[in-house]
Symmetry: C2
Subunit: 128 residues, 2 copies
Amino acid sequence: MDAFDVFSRQCPSRTTLEHVTGRWGGLTLTALYESHENHESRLRFNELRRRVDGVSEKMLSQTLHALERDGLVLREARPVNPPWVDYELTPLGRDVAERLLGLIQLVEGRMSEVISARERYDTTRGAL
Amino acid sequence: MDAFDVFSRQCPSRTTLEHVTGRWGGLTLTALYESHENHESRLRFNELRRRVDGVSEKMLSQTLHALERDGLVLREARPVNPPWVDYELTPLGRDVAERLLGLIQLVEGRMSEVISARERYDTTRGAL
DNA sequence: CTGTATCCTGCCGGATACTG
DNA sequence: CAGTATCCGGCAGGATACAG
């Protein structure tokens, strides 16, 4: 157990982990990751917003700031009119996104197990 | 994009992912995983509570129910007095926990990068 | 277009008390 | 011991308006 151990209540890694796994952080990271994988250009704010279904401007902005501050996302603003800003992952961000994607894909791939587990749980609990 | 894709707003995998990566879900899963790895016996409610630093009874209970319903955690109650209940991961839960641990360990291992990124961000932003 | 600023609400989650 | 039940405050986060 070192100072960064997530299990201790006040450790810095817990906050970063919350940014990464938070409601919008994970989706934002994976959206940026997949864009990069597909050799698309870096994503602009509203492109990102469209990909992360359901996120509000405010939350996307907040999320991006947190991720940028943690060194996971790079923000590049071109001083033109109309404004042109795009986002991409840093190398660290890409490493994090890969692990995250591993988790997401595992869960997606085994949702049938989850769903049948839920049905079992609901019927046996409902019967009590 | 199938029906389980996390990017769509209403997909079942998003809720499971929220249980797994939620404030207490991840810590609970990894606590159970590490206990299993260390060949300790399965964990009882209050043992678990002590390991997941800061969790309240209510939230641990809620978290465990959600994870049990999703088929990630197995709850076994022995009908004795005083009550004896213990928890362990299902095989699916163990797979999920492994991926999650991969993510956690990556973040923990590279917190120094995160911290220096934060310092850079704060000074340059503060200077504006 | 890329965001802030503001307001407002729901619900997350902590504290406490209680039960089997 | 292993939880539920209840109350309640704070804040995450949505809607809207606005600014550069």
